[in-house]
Each structure stands twice: as structure tokens, then as C-alpha cells.
């Protein structure tokens, strides 16, 4: 098991190396940073000085090495807009984004898995079809639109929940639901198809032949096995979740990293963009290592390898 975790950690090394490289290329893609970062009427001396200061006069691979080195120290330079270290700006907002992401993941799992299981259990029944369609519709609505509609209905119309901002649990409900709306269908769909696969397996027949109650067969035996691919999918969806955060945070005035990212992109605040992308990638990698560990814990075949 420990070996497995170590092996898993080693396998992330190439990704870890690639992440800062891509962050670096992201800025270079848009041209010479000197032009972007200096005011327009800067003198030639100022430009040269700026280049020297940031190592832009060095060969590109040296710049890349320097960037990677700094990136792993969490140093992406100063935000052009805020004049503060970019990593500080990101880390300040990480709690809010984490809160939102965890809550929506919670919603997604609490809704998606039961939906999937029930749909699989009642395959091709009305319930199944109803769940599948509901879930497909929720996936078909762009999340920003869903968010605005929910604000209109639940905040302005009914006054049940606040329109945005962070604070109490009630503030969390609408953004988390909006963010979860893209995830629920996926989890439900994967759960359903995995459950269908599992329910067809021989061990299910064995469990039934033992005289077990159907709910034990379904919710204990099958779900335990179906859960394994479902967690993998959830892990992979962290990336999508991070993408969704960008829109959701904008609509709901949620003080998180996604909003910072979009503002930074608009303002061409590249140190911040790099920091956001870097941290998102790190979060993704960490979460997926965790997912794999959970996976291993759940699947004895991996655990005892």
C-alpha cells in the first residue's frame, strides 16, 4: 500500500515538471512581457533595466529554469494590478474557493450517486427515465444562466437565499448548487452505468442467492464496487470544477480564486494568472493522488498488490 502511494507520487513528477513549463509558456505566448508589464511611455533604459531585473535578457531556457525554480518556491512575482505577491493573492482566496468546491462536490455526490443507483436499480422504468432526463436538462443549461435564474427565483423572487457573497451557510447554497449542476449528471450517469455493470456481475447473483435483502445487495455489494470508477471520475472532474468556479464565482460575487483568475486575465496580470493556473494544477494533482489512495483503499486488489 505504501509502495503504491509512493509509486503514485513518483508518477506525478512529469506532470509536476510540465505544469510550471506550461504556465511559463502561457505568458510567452502573448509576447514579450516587457511590453505588457511596463507603461507605454517607459524609456529604453527602463526597458533594459526591467529585462535585466527579470532575467529576460537571458536565453529562454535559462528563463524557464528560473521560472520553474521560483514557481516551486511559490514565487510568481508581484501582481501587476495589486503590487502584491501573486501567490499571496491566490492563497488568500483559496479558502473561499475550497469551501465552494467542497460544498458543490458534496451536493454533487449526495445527489448524483443516489440518482445513479436508483436509476440503475429501476432501469428503463419511469423513475429511471425521469432521473436521466432531469439530469440531462440540468447539464444542458449553461451554468451562468442557471445561476442567474436561481438568483432571480430564490433570492429576488422568493427571498429565501442571498444573491451572492460569502458568509453564512445560506450564501453557499446557490453557488454550490450551480457549480454542482454540471457535476451531478456526470456522477449520476457514471454511477448508473457502473451500477448496471455491477448489478449484472456474478457476485450479485451470489449475494442474492445467499438470501440477502435487495437493498444490501444494491447499496452494499454493488455500490462498493461501482464506487471505485465513480471516484476516479470525480477526481478527474476536479479540473472541470475549477473551470466552473470561474463563472460561478463571477455570477455569485464569491470571493475566490476563479474570480481573481478572470480579472487577472482581463487585466493581463500574468503573474497572477500563472499563480492561479499553477495552484489549480497542484490542487488537481493532490486531489487525484488522494483519489487514487482512496481507490486503493476501496479496492483490495490494488491494496494488496
Amino acid at each position: 500500500m505504501l509502495k503504491y502511494v509512493i509509486r503514485r507520487l513518483i508518477s506525478t513528477i512529469p506532470t509536476l515538471i510540465a505544469v510550471p513549463i506550461i504556465c511559463f509558456l502561457l505568458t510567452r505566448l502573448s509576447g514579450d512581457p516587457t511590453e505588457l508589464m511596463l507603461p507605454m511611455d517607459a524609456s529604453d533604459e527602463a526597458r533594459t533595466a526591467f529585462r535585466a531585473l527579470h532575467g529576460l535578457d537571458k536565453p529562454i531556457w535559462e528563463q524557464l529554469l528560473l521560472f520553474c525554480e521560483n514557481a516551486f518556491r511559490g514565487d510568481f512575482g508581484m501582481s501587476l494590478r495589486f503590487g502584491e505577491p501573486a501567490s499571496t493573492l491566490v492563497l488568500e482566496r483559496l479558502a473561499a474557493t475550497t469551501e465552494l468546491a467542497v460544498a458543490s462536490l458534496g451536493f454533487a455526490v449526495l445527489l448524483g450517486i443516489p440518482f445513479g443507483v436508483i436509476a440503475a436499480q429501476r432501469r428503463n422504468s419511469l423513475v429511471d427515465r425521469a432521473i436521466r432526463n432531469a439530469v440531462a436538462v440540468s447539464q444542458a443549461i449553461p451554468s451562468f444562466y442557471l445561476g442567474i435564474l436561481m438568483i432571480m427565483v430564490f433570492a429576488v423572487g422568493l427571498g429565501w437565499l442571498p444573491t451572492g457573497g460569502r458568509g453564512e451557510v445560506s450564501n453557499l447554497v446557490l453557488p454550490a448548487l450551480t457549480l454542482a449542476s454540471g457535476l451531478v449528471p456526470l456522477i449520476a450517469r457514471v454511477t448508473r452505468s457502473c451500477m448496471l455493470d455491477e448489478l449484472r456481475r456474478d457476485y450479485v447473483r451470489t449475494a442474492r442467492a445467499k438470501g440477502l435483502k435487495e437493498y444490501i445487495v444494491v447499496w452494499k455489494h454493488s455500490l462498493r464496487n461501482a464506487f471505485i470508477p465513480v471516484i476516479t471520475v470525480i477526481g478527474l472532474q476536479i479540473g472541470a470544477l475549477m473551470s466552473g468556479v470561474v463563472v460561478t464565482e463571477t455570477v455569485f460575487a464569491w470571493p475566490g480564486v476563479g474570480r481573481l483568475a478572470i480579472q487577472a486575465i482581463y487585466a493581463r496580470d500574468f503573474p497572477v494568472v500563472q499563480a492561479v493556473v499553477f495552484f489549480f494544477a497542484i490542487v488537481f494533482i493532490v486531489v487525484n493522488i488522494l483519489v487514487d489512495v482512496v481507490y486503493a483503499l476501496m479496492d483490495p486488489r490494488v491494496r494488496y498488490q
Binding site: T206, G211, R224, N225
Partner: protein, 350 residues
């Protein structure tokens, strides 16, 4: 030879030897909803299982023998149902029994083991857990530790070495033969009266198969349980069973005691099976194969379902009623109007 015809012969038989019969099935029809409409995988099957004896159901794939066993357990897939007939188990009619009642019977009184020991155990739980679950499903009062002791004992009984250690292992850590032993331990832990063994050795190597067959026999001697053994291997039948029923295309074509059927095979299909089986003890020049292949369920021939593949087929075979059972000798029934073939093909019988 006189022919007594009866559509529901086992009812008659059940009357005469009812004290001896644990499980009897009459006129069982199991159907499936498919795209091609409703098809019958089991169509009018009559069998009875004698107490302490082994009844083998033999046939090729798709003949409905597995569906027959699942019908007894009422574990048919979602699109299947028992649409007709009755299953009597120790005086209890099983068809139409509420699911909760059936759950109490499954595993406790009628247990079942399956073909693939590799996939029939849940990979996510220890084998001990799975056996304990079977115990506690039928007796809530058993504590976990007591159940665990019983599980270890059950494992020992099926010949698993170091059962105390193995009980905490996962299925993937065991070999195929060991897994089938675990399956048997799990099935027998509640001391059922009937064990349905669905091709229990098909997936195993021949040396392991020999061990498992021996194990089943000795366990039967020990507990006096009755076994329904489903197999395609006439060798296994000859070795294990007391009675046998040959199934073809959802119907029983010949049934009787194993010695009756082997000594005096009547149905052309039974003959074909015997002729197709290569013998380890003899150099055959050529196998007498059955021509053609099994028809699909939704395109069953009329009359005797074997007639398109039968060498003795005549026009009457193609009309309904050609597959009526007749009793050739005491307890030996054949569903063939051309049986015995010597009498009907005198010109060829030398």
C-alpha cells in the same frame, strides 16, 4: 412397448413417491421479454429431486438449464419471469411467493453455487465477511464473532488450509479451486436442504474439478442434502448423479435414473450427445456429430424442437404434440415419438 402419455407426468410420479421428493417442478415455463417479443427459455419442464440424491440437468449452452435453476431460486434477470407452472419445495409452493419469504429460503434452505468462482465472489469484501454475511442474513441473533467461528469451521470443512488466516483474505488472493471451495462453504454454511450447483467445475482445471467433485460427494454424504447439478459434461453426470434430465431448447427430452439413461438412451439428442463426446478410453475413428446448431429462442421449430437436427425425423415430428413425454420404463421418460429407434428403423437395425 406401450406408451403412457401424460403432459404432467411428474404429478403422477409425485403422488407415488412424494415422501421421497424434496423439490418438484411441474409445467414450468420461464419467459423473457426481448426485442423479438416474449420468448420461453424454459418451456414446460417437469422434474423432481429426491431427498439426499443428486439430479443432474444436462444440456448444451442455451438449453435453459441455468434459467431453470434461477427460476427455482427466483433470481431471474429483470426481463424474465416464471409465467406458468409450479415449483413445490417441501410442501411449499415457491412460484408467487413474496420476495421477503423467498429471501428467507434462499441461502438458508436452498443454496446455490455458480460456474465462475472468479467472479462469483465480491472482490471488495473478505471471504470471511461474505460467509458471515450469509450466516447473519438468516439469523440476526448470531454475534459477529460466533459467525466468524462458524465461517472458519465452514472453510475448514471444504478443505481450505489455514482457514483462520484465509478467512480474512480477499477473493483475488485465492486460486480458482480455493474460490470454488469458498463458494461451497458459503452455500453450505446454513445447512441447506437443497444445493443447486450450476456448472460448478466448468471453469476449473480437470485436476481441480476432480477435487471439487469429490468434495461435493463427501459433503453430500455428510449432510444428506439433495443436489441439483447443472452441467454439460456427461462424464460429470455419470460420476456424480443419481438421476438425470437431458434438456434441449428449453424442454426436457429424456429423464430417468443415470443408469437407465446411459444404458438405454432413447432420445436422438441424448444419443447425439453420447456420440459427440470423444472418449478418453478409446480411439474413435470418427465422432457421430449432431448436425446443425441449436435454434435461437425466438425461432423455435414447431413440434419436437430437435427435429431439424434429427436423423430420424419424420413428418409427424414437426407437428405439435410430438414432444410429449412417454414412459419407456419405470421412471425413464422420453419425449420422442420415434423411440425406441430400433423399432422405428428396423431396416437399418441389421
Amino acid at each position: 412397448m406401450t406408451q403412457k402419455s401424460s403432459p404432467y407426468f411428474s404429478e403422477l410420479r409425485a403422488d407415488s413417491v412424494s415422501h421421497d421428493v424434496v423439490l418438484s417442478i411441474a409445467g414450468l415455463r420461464t419467459t423473457f421479454r426481448t426485442d423479438a417479443g416474449e420468448v420461453a427459455a424454459v418451456d414446460g419442464v417437469n422434474i423432481s429431486l429426491r431427498r439426499g440424491k443428486t439430479l443432474a440437468i444436462v444440456g448444451e449452452s442455451g438449453c435453459g438449464k441455468s434459467m431453470l435453476s434461477l427460476s427455482i431460486m427466483q433470481l431471474l434477470p429483470g426481463n424474465g419471469r416464471v409465467s406458468d407452472g409450479r415449483i413445490d419445495f417441501e410442501g411449499k409452493m415457491l412460484v408467487g411467493v413474496p420476495e421477503a419469504e423467498m429471501q428467507a429460503i434462499r441461502g438458508k434452505r436452498i443454496a446455490m453455487i455458480f460456474q465462475e468462482p472468479m467472479t462469483s465472489l465480491n472482490p471488495a469484501f473478505t471471504i470471511g465477511n461474505q460467509i458471515i454475511e450469509a450466516i447473519r442474513a438468516h439469523d440476526k441473533d448470531v454475534t459477529f464473532s460466533v459467525a466468524r467461528e462458524r465461517a472458519i469451521k465452514a472453510l475448514k470443512r471444504v478443505g481450505i488450509p489455514a482457514a483462520e488466516r484465509r478467512v480474512d483474505e480477499y477473493p483475488h488472493q485465492l486460486s480458482g479451486g480455493m474460490r470454488q471451495r469458498v463458494m461451497i462453504a458459503m452455500a453450505l454454511v446454513c445447512e441447506p436442504e437443497v444445493l443447486i450447483a450450476d456448472e460448478p467445475t466448468t471453469a476449473l482445471d480437470v485436476t481441480v474439478q476432480a477435487q471439487i467433485l469429490e468434495l461435493l460427494k463427501s459433503l453430500q454424504n455428510e449432510t444428506g442434502m439433495s443436489i441439483i447439478l447443472i452441467t454439460h459434461d456427461l462424464g460429470v453426470v455419470a460420476e456424480m448423479a443419481d438421476d438425470m434430465a437431458v434438456m434441449y431448447a428449453g424442454r426436457i427430452v429424456e429423464t430417468g435414473s443415470v443408469s437407465d439413461v446411459f444404458d438405454d438412451p432413447q432420445h436422438p439428442y441424448t444419443l447425439g450427445l453420447l456420440g459427440s463426446t470423444p472418449k478418453i478410453s478409446e480411439d474413435a475413428k470418427r465422432l457421430v456429430a449432431i448436425k446443425g446448431s441449436v435454434p435461437p429462442l425466438f425461432r423455435m421449430p414447431t413440434g419436437c424442437r430437435f427435429h431439424p437436427r434429427c436423423d430420424f425425423c419424420i413428418a409427424e415430428c414437426k407437428i405439435e404434440g410430438a414432444s410429449r413425454m412417454s414412459e419407456i420404463s419405470e421412471g425413464h421418460f422420453v419425449a420422442c415419438i420415434r423411440a425406441p429407434v430400433e423399432e422405428n428403423c428396423r431396416e437399418l437395425a441389421e
